[in-house]
Subunit: 191 residues, 2 copies
């Protein structure tokens, strides 16, 4: 019984950390880009609805009641070589496919708008079991939808054939901008 | 005595609303751009450091202790015609000049990085007493610094000679992207 509880606890913790290590790798990569003058890309703060505040001292405002709001965009955006960059990061523990339900409707709506405004819109997807990091451009996402109208997940084989792999490195961790730079026409709208 | 208190209260309220009406006009303008497929520009959420949370029900997470953090960037960014747009909005009640102390060092550092990465970086400044809205490009800001090394404020005359006026309208309220579109070379870095 104790063993089962422990196992559940470990499972819960690993669930709550889901996506955190990928986020951390991307944040480190963005810091590297910023410090080396390569690009200016930030993670957006999580929007919070503040209900009540308190002033324990004149200098400091303490928030005493607030709630997380659903963001209307993706998590990351910025500028690289004059291009507008906009993306979100996702992880899957599945060995064979990435469930489409992992992408929220507001995220897709936002990436679509960005793509049509001439920006570079994509998702970075980590197949944890294979330690693989793919860039799924908005363009490839559209291709998948048009070819597989009824599927509820994108098979790993589709990623292998239609997406770009990011190598995991030390400094920077996940050099996704190098991949985008080398394949820019696959990411932006045709004029 | 009561009259004085009332006066102070009015002053305090008008101070706390400082910048709110300009922000509101910019938010309405950005909504117009978004709904008409012209551009995708959002105000970034204010970053909050969450210290303690509570779960009054399984479905909802309530933040019970948090503090505002100083942002490391500007308030607004997004994409327009493939260009990365990044700016902040400022108001001054002075009739003659805009105090440089209104611009925070982190905001200038950020606009500089954006400019060098090929983005469109600027400030929208409202001279409230004249109902005038100027776009101060990062380029014009540099020009001011090089010409007037000791001044602590930018005189209104500099704005009139070196900056672009935005007309106040109904729908959209402040069509700043039209001004940028017509004068793009003044905003971006030379190749």
């Amino acid at each position: 019984m104790i063993k089962l509880k422990l196992k559940l606890e470990v499972l819960k913790n690993s669930k709550s950390n889901l996506g955190k290590s990928l986020e951390n790798d991307i944040n480190l990569t963005n810091n590297y880009y910023l410090n080396n003058g390569i690009a200016v890309i930030y993670k957006k703060p999580t929007p919070v609805q503040v209900v009540r505040v308190n002033y324990p001292s004149r200098a400091r405002c303490q928030i005493t009641e607030a709630y997380y709001k659903t963001p209307s965009t993706t998590d990351y955006n910025g500028v690289f070589n004059g291009y507008y960059i906009d993306f979100d990061v996702k992880e899957t523990h599945s060995k064979t496919a990435f469930p489409l339900s992992n992408i929220k409707p507001h995220q897709i709506a936002h990436l679509e708008r960005v793509f049509h405004s001439g920006g570079v819109a994509f998702l970075i997807i980590n197949f944890c079991q294979h330690s693989e990091y793919f860039i799924l451009s908005y363009r490839s996402y559209l291709k998948f939808l048009s070819e597989f109208t009824t599927r509820k997940s994108i098979p790993r084989s589709f990623f292998k054939e239609n997406c770009f792999l990011i190598n995991y490195g030390y400094h920077p961790r996940l050099d996704y901008l190098q991949v985008i730079k080398n394949n820019l026409s696959c990411f932006i709208k045709n004029e």
